[in-house]
């Protein structure tokens, strides 16, 4: 089976695609069959992914490549390919596993929706595209899948089509990510032009192999930065992060799958995949492109964490948390910790999906309410959700020892601390860790502790079909730690092709204590600030956030997402719309006039020649005719017909001649 799947890698994305088509052709009411096909398709993908994963374990440094010709233009073949290596296999397993949990959860969550069938078709479409993305052996194939996951994201954000806000969010997501994608596209073209192939690995001729990289030369920095634009758009990095929080308009399973666990991580995966281009010509592990990655990551991580503190929507808090964590991964990649970044990505996939599904369960229980200030006391009403959510929260905050997020975060802090270029990112990340613990504590306190408020009075625990995936994901979030610890850093070594040895002594590292202190500080600060958040506390009214009470300006600044959206609306969007209007105006009034102006010159010339013709030439001919006629009339008058008159004239003439002759003589 393992060998077979290596030769048929294409089946992994193809099965979900096919299942998607099958579901799409179902009539609208067939909820059960749709759910069945979806889950079956996803299980098939999971099984194949698992076998593919097993295959990669056989040898260290495993890499299976299957290239094929897509089409031939002129006499050049455009080749694409599939690739299975530890990076791809790890992603495959995470995506299919998380995906399956979310599919099952969706069956319960979307039960009442009239477009249930379409929802699963879209989800499977997404799943197929995402799986294709991670096993692409060609930047072009990766780009194709990249755009397709973007399409799936667009369709799913705008899934509740009758809501104008959902349609607007979908539009925003599509266009914002496309801005980044255009950079990616240019980078791809540049890379293609330079190295003559877009295949990553092609028996030594691929663009990530030494020969291809050598051809890339000095343009590697530009290519890397352009490709990074795509990652910035897709992974919600500053300054293109604005779409991701709005994307929460989509159904919660979608937020969990696409906008937390998988698609948004594709940017990080992309950077990891083409890392040789980023690190080409590195001195001491630092290149200018990687430095950009680090700083973008730092800005994003810190900014998003700050904004998350002042948000009231349960999903938006998680969305900003996602943005922040993705920034963290970017920093890790930028400072050289590819394995650390990818480990965090995988761990994040599990616990962030868990958190989103937990949030979905909460929203489901609270009958659609998303404002955390209206919840409270759900600890007792929704115990399963609470327990799993708490696990997710601790994993996200990076509580050491038992939670996967803690280990990966420590690893990232570790590599960042050793970045030769600057220590600053390290300090910023430390602040980020505190902030993460703070906003998660705030959220937990608001939602699950205290007394029940407006929306949580009649809350109920979700059905088993929804809690089971939560429990599975929570176990993953904890058990995943096993392969992450420094004592047995199996995943790290799996990703970097080194054999792993068990050594218990390495379990306790200095970073562990630092991490413990930081998370403890964050949680303590959170408890201190928000202990009585939902209730009245001295002068503070119950519906006012403690931070808002203490620092109204700061709170408003953060609540309004640092006014970045407003800034874009006033500048970039206003400018684009102005240019659109200008183009239209130019078209109607300038270009048309200009071309017609040339026509008018011709017309003027025509008028001129007409005038010359009528007034000059034509009139001249007329006058000649008239003159001739008048002369004729005059002459005719002399011909009186009187013979005697003629005779008299002759006589006078002769006489005159005679006189003239006489005068001459």
């Amino acid at each position: 089976m393992s060998c077979w799947i290596i030769d048929h890698l294409w089946l992994i994305p193809a099965v979900p695609f096919a299942a998607s088509l099958v579901i799409l052709s179902l009539p609208n009411g067939r909820h059960k069959s749709a759910a069945l096909v979806a889950v079956a398709g996803q299980i098939a993908a999971l099984v194949m992914s698992f076998f593919a994963f097993l295959a990669t374990l056989q040898v260290s440094g495993f890499r299976a490549v299957q290239n094929f010709t897509w089409f031939t233009f002129g006499d050049h073949a455009l080749r694409l390919g599939w690739l299975l290596d530890p990076l791809a296999a790890a992603m495959l397993t995470m995506i299919t596993l998380v995906g399956l949990c979310i599919f099952v959860f969706s069956i319960g969550y979307m039960a009442g929706d009239k477009n249930f069938v379409r929802f699963f078709a879209y989800l499977l479409f997404f799943s197929g595209a995402m799986l294709g993305l991670v096993i692409s052996n060609s930047l072009l194939l990766l780009f194709i899948c990249w755009e397709l996951v973007g399409l799936a994201s667009y369709l799913l954000i705008g899934f509740w089509i009758e809501r104008p806000s959902a349609a607007a969010a979908a539009k925003k997501a599509f266009i914002t990510t496309r801005i980044g994608d255009l950079g990616f596209f240019l980078g791809l073209l540049w890379l293609y032009g330079r190295s003559g192939t877009l295949l990553f690995y092609d028996g030594g001729n691929g663009c990530l192999e030494s020969a291809g990289l050598a051809m890339l030369g000095a343009s590697a920095v530009s290519v890397a930065l352009l490709i990074f634009c795509g990652a910035v758009g897709k992974s919600g990095q500053f300054p293109l992060h604005v779409w991701l929080p709005d994307a929460m308009e989509g159904p919660t399973p979608v937020s969990a799958l696409i906008h937390a666990a998988t698609m948004v991580a594709a940017g990080v995966f992309l950077v990891a995949r083409v890392y040789p281009i980023f690190s080409l010509g590195a001195i001491d592990g630092v290149t200018s492109s990687l430095t950009v990655v680090v700083w973008i990551g730092v800005i994003t991580a810190l900014m998003a964490a700050l904004i998350a503190i002042a948000q009231a929507d349960i999903k938006r808090i998680l969305a900003y948390s996602t943005v922040s964590q993705l920034g963290l991964m970017m920093v890790s990649l930028g400072v050289g910790g590819v394995a650390a970044g990818m480990m965090h990505l995988l761990a994040h996939g599990f616990f962030k999906a868990l958190l989103f599904l937990g949030a979905g369960s909460v929203i489901h229980g609270c009958h659609g309410e998303q404002d955390i200030r209206k919840m409270g006391g759900l600890r007792r009403l929704m115990p399963a959700t609470f327990a799993t959510y708490a696990i997710g929260m601790m994993a996200l905050s990076g509580v050491p020892l038992f939670f996967s997020g803690g280990w990966t975060k420590e690893e990232i802090l570790h590599v960042t601390a050793h970045w030769p270029a600057s220590r600053l990112p390290y300090y910023f990340l430390l602040a980020g860790v505190v902030l993460t613990a703070l906003y998660m504590t705030r959220q937990i306190i608001y939602v699950f502790f205290g007394d029940g408020r407006a929306a949580s009075q009649h809350a109920h625990e979700s059905p088993r079909v929804m809690t089971m995936p939560l429990i599975v994901l929570a176990s993953c979030a904890i058990l995943f730690s096993v392969v992450l610890t420094p004592a047995w850093p199996w995943l790290h070594h799996y990703l970097t092709d080194e054999p792993a040895h068990f050594e218990f002594a390495r379990l306790i590292q200095p970073t562990l204590f630092l991490s413990l202190v930081l998370v403890g500080a964050g949680v303590a600060l959170g408890i201190g600030m928000y202990r009585k958040a939902g209730a009245q506390d001295r002068q503070r009214p119950a519906d006012t956030d403690p931070l808002e009470f203490a620092q109204p300006e700061l709170f408003r600044f953060l609540e309004n997402k640092m006014w970045i959206d407003e800034f874009y609306t006033r500048t970039v969007i206003a400018f684009s719309w102005m240019s659109a209007r200008l183009s239209d105006w130019m078209d109607r009034h300038f270009w048309d006039r200009l071309v017609r102006g040339f026509g008018a010159v011709g017309q003027l010339f025509g008028t001129f020649t007409t005038t010359v013709d009528e007034r000059g030439i034509n009139a001249g001919v007329d006058e000649t005719t008239v003159g001739t006629r008048a002369l004729g009339r005059l002459m005719a008058a002399a011909h009186s017909g009187q013979i005697q008159t003629y005779l008299a004239v002759i006589a006078i003439g002769v006489l005159a001649l005679l006189l003239f002759y006489a005068w001459l003589a």
């Binding site: 002129g74 050049h76 009758e162 104008p164 596209f185 659109a580 270009w591 071309v595």
Partner: protein, 490 residues
């Protein structure tokens, strides 16, 4: 098989006459029957076409007016075949788009014949005859069957294109007087070393360029297009955008590039700037339109701008590597085909909306997805194809054009990607306005796609998927031609 091409040209003409023998109410079905014959002929042509051989094939040559070098000379290479197939596809599609009376059908068939002629003629006089022959039915169709402002639009269309044609004719007379030939192949052979010299070369170039630029149309000669497409009936809009604009692009490939390589190289950056203007300003203008048909019309300018970008990039550089030249040319050819089917499909779908609502402003609709999911679904596919989503046909052409152009003229191509972004904005905005939100009251009685409408749109959409996923069959048609042409330019 000799005679296939002549038959192709004659079938629609004879069909147009035959229409008047059949009863009036059967006009459209008769026309469709004629089209089935023509399509069959085109398929046989495809079968007999040797895809491995470059150069003109299946040539038919007869003396016509020897005194002025005019011959009846028709033949096809890969590009011609591609366009013949496109014509055989778009015209029946257009026939399915709307009700039409006998005169309408006859004019469409005459136009079809002219299109076949234009794409197969290999002698300038013959080519020009067909080229102009297509103009008159188009003019009459807009003038007689058009919507509001049809007189003005028809006149504008006619004057622009006709003046362009006159300029082109003058240019060609100049060439004939200097070189004594109207034969495309002969002239292309001479073109490599400079067909004409000095001022005459520039005058002839300017004349032919103007004629073709108006036809394509290239910015800033495009202002007739939104008016004409807007006023024309749906079926005519489809043919105008799907085929008539291709005559201009075809002319650029067949005439301007081979005949004036030096001139194009000299003013290459300016030409590229015009192409970029088409690519950037047209979708911006489309964004500001509220009329759906005008919007699609402007996006046509944008898509043809990509073709021009690829061609001018090829022409402007003498140092392009073979792979880049071939990529750009292949991209242009694919884009010609893709834009033909996609833009025609978009006009068709807008036409369906217009039939249901009576209006076609972007704000006249809302929430259609709840009422007409099938219509919205197929329309979304056409829109995504047009904005270049991978997996659909639009991406293939645009990718290759950008690949080729970027390697040759990087900075221009980098600006051109703005066009891709703005196109996306335009379509996503349209989708938001039309499909989502609460169902507009005026649309609450809409019927979803009827079976006959599905029969028209689904094959075309499947073709979009086919080209997007496995495009080899399209490339097979013109690969040999591309290789040969690329050799000409580098």
């Amino acid at each position: 098989m000799v005679g296939l091409i002549s038959a192709l040209i004659l079938i629609p003409l004879v069909g147009a006459l035959a229409l008047f023998a059949a009863p009036e109410k059967n006009a459209r079905s008769t026309a469709l029957l004629v089209n089935a014959l023509a399509a069959l002929d085109a398929l046989v042509l495809w079968r007999h076409f040797d895809i491995g051989a470059a150069g003109i094939q299946l040539v038919e040559r007869h003396a016509w007016i020897p005194a002025i070098g005019a011959e009846y000379l028709v033949g096809i290479d890969g590009l011609s075949l591609l366009l013949v197939l496109l014509t055989s596809l778009i015209i029946p599609f257009a026939f399915l788009a709307q009700r039409m009376d006998r005169g309408f059908c006859a004019l469409m068939l005459i136009m079809q014949s002219a299109l076949y002629g234009t794409f197969t003629a290999q002698n300038f006089v013959l080519w020009f005859l067909f080229y102009e022959m297509s103009l008159i039915p188009a003019f009459l169709l807009i003038k007689i069957c058009g919507g509001e402002n049809r007189d003005r639009a028809a006149m504008k269309f006619f004057l622009y294109t006709f003046l362009g044609s006159v300029a082109m004719l003058l240019g060609f007379l100049g060439i004939y007087l200097a070189r004594g030939s109207f034969d495309f192949a002969t002239l292309a052979g001479l073109g490599k070393n400079g067909l004409l010299t000095g001022k005459l070369a520039w005058l002839a170039f300017a004349g032919i360029f103007l004629g073709l630029a108006v036809k394509v149309p290239l910015f800033p000669f495009h202002t007739w297009l939104p008016d004409a497409y807007e006023s024309a009936p749906t079926g005519v809009s489809m043919v105008l955008t799907g085929l008539l604009s291709k005559m201009g692009v075809y002319g650029f490939v067949r005439l301007l590039l081979p005949l004036f390589p030096n001139e194009i190289r000299i003013i290459g950056p300016w030409l590229l700037a015009l192409a970029i203007s088409s690519i950037v300003f047209a979708p911006l203008a489309a964004w500001a339109q509220s009329d759906l048909k005008r919007m699609v019309a402007y996006l046509s300018v944008n898509h043809l701008g990509y073709c021009m970008l690829g061609l001018f990039a090829v022409g402007a550089s003498s140092v392009g590597a073979a792979i880049d030249t071939q990529a750009a040319l292949s991209g242009v050819f694919t884009q010609i085909f893709n834009h033909g089917i996609t833009a025609a499909a978009l006009f068709y779908l807008v036409g369906l909306l217009e039939q249901r609502r009576g209006l076609r402003g972007i704000d006249d609709f809302g929430g259609l997805m709840q009422r007409t999911p099938l219509l919205c679904g197929w329309m979304s596919v056409a829109m995504f194809s047009s904005l270049g989503l991978p997996g659909l046909n639009g991406f293939i052409g645009e990718f290759l054009i950008f690949k080729g152009s970027f390697a040759i003229a990087a900075s221009f191509t980098a600006i051109a990607v703005i066009g891709l972004l703005v196109t996306a904005i335009v379509f996503v905005r349209a989708m938001q306005a039309l499909f989502s939100g609460p169902l507009a009251e005026s649309c609450s009685a809409f019927s979803d796609l009827l079976p006959r409408e599905q029969a028209a749109i689904i094959p075309v959409t499947l073709l979009m998927f086919a080209i997007g996923l496995a495009p080899q069959f399209i490339f097979n048609i013109f690969n040999a031609t591309v290789v040969q042409m690329a050799r000409l330019f580098s």
